[in-house]
């Protein structure tokens, strides 16, 4: 099977190029396995990977134009030649390895942790099954970055727009019955950039390897913000 891989070493190359590799594939093979095989024949090739089962989110790449996790993408489903690019819009460190600093900065900015002002309870924080249910579809995010790097609004304003991944987490804590910083979280998202650069393009929902829906979460934040401000 033929693979066309994005290659770029900023230290030695003037500009990126695509390199072709022919790899023998086996039944049930995932793209990550193919990339590992490529690395075994060309050790100058770099890509990130770790768990190999869609849990760590390290091997997010752009596969035939769509972001996804290499480890859970069967090569049998891909059209030849399989074009693999780094995640779009991020500075390339080398080959498929990109700099995710801005992505993490935006994640950090939504304060993705419980904020409680009351004294800590003696036992655990209690939550009804219904309240807990609200967090389904939000907490499962593995921060692979497929969504934010597929979002045109994030391409144009990665420094100001929080991006779908961070906004999904913002909503995860706004929706959490135990969190007591909802007002601050909502105020922080005001203004034309942080939340409202989202134009409901829905690339994020389309590419999420965990099947989550950041667009819906962003819509929920807008509704809550509307109630909060009126």
């Amino acid at each position: 099977m033929r693979f066309s891989i994005y290659r770029y070493n900023p230290e030695s190359d003037d500009k990126p190029h695509m390199q072709t590799y022919d790899i023998e594939v086996t039944p049930g093979m995932m793209l990550r396995d193919a990339l590992l095989k490529i690395k075994s024949v060309d050790e100058s090739f770099s890509f990130r990977h770790s768990c190999g089962e869609g849990v760590c989110g390290s091997d997010a790449v752009n596969i035939n134009g769509t972001n996804g996790l290499a480890c859970i993408t069967p090569v049998a489903t891909l059209k030849e030649p399989v074009e693999v690019h780094p995640l779009p819009g991020r500075p390339v460190i080398r080959d498929l390895v990109v700099d995710m600093t801005q992505f993490y900065h935006q994640y950090r900015a939504v304060k993705p942790y419980l904020t409680v002002h009351d004294p800590e309870p003696e036992i655990e924080y209690l939550q009804s099954p219904e309240e807990r249910e609200k967090l389904d579809g939000l907490y499962e995010c593995i921060l692979c970055g497929c969504c934010s790097t597929a979002c045109p609004s994030f391409w144009w304003n990665p420094d100001k727009f929080r991006g779908p991944a961070a906004l999904l987490q913002a909503y995860r804590f706004i929706a959490d019955s135990r969190d007591q910083a909802t007002a601050q979280r909502l105020d922080e998202l005001e203004g034309p950039y942080r939340l409202f650069r989202c134009h409901t393009i829905m690339n994020c929902t389309n590419v999420c390897p965990k099947g989550l829906n950041p667009t819906k979460a962003i819509g929920e934040i807008k509704t809550i913000l509307l109630k909060h401000n009126t």
Partner: protein, 105 residues
């Protein structure tokens, strides 16, 4: 937030007005220019039409401002473009008012 709301409200109003306008044209088309003038100059219709054009301008303002915020990075250029847009829209608003007041005469 405010601009996002404005965009939603104007969109809904324009959609409703559009449906009504098309329906009115299909169900009871004006037989003559005079009849058309009477219809368009009746107070509710004149108000609704004026509101429609202001909604259109408001909607377009938010939309184009979004495009500028997304794509025009140099601050000065963006400021110039937004000002030109604002001036253009004010001119269009005044023009619409003039047309509606004078009946295009």
């Amino acid at each position: 937030m405010k601009s996002w709301l404005l965009q939603r409200f104007t969109a809904v109003y324009m959609a409703l007005f559009f449906v009504y306008f098309i329906a009115a044209l299909l169900i009871a088309p004006s037989e003559s220019y005079e009849e058309w003038q009477v219809w368009m100059r009746s107070t509710p219709m004149a108000l609704a039409t004026t509101l429609f054009f202001f909604a259109l301008l408001g909607h377009a303002w938010v939309g184009l401002r979004d495009v500028f915020l997304d794509y025009i990075k140099p601050f000065v250029l963006r400021l110039v473009l937004l000002n030109l847009l604002a001036i253009g829209m004010i001119v269009m608003a005044l023009w619409v008012v003039r047309i509606l007041l004078t009946g295009g005469a």
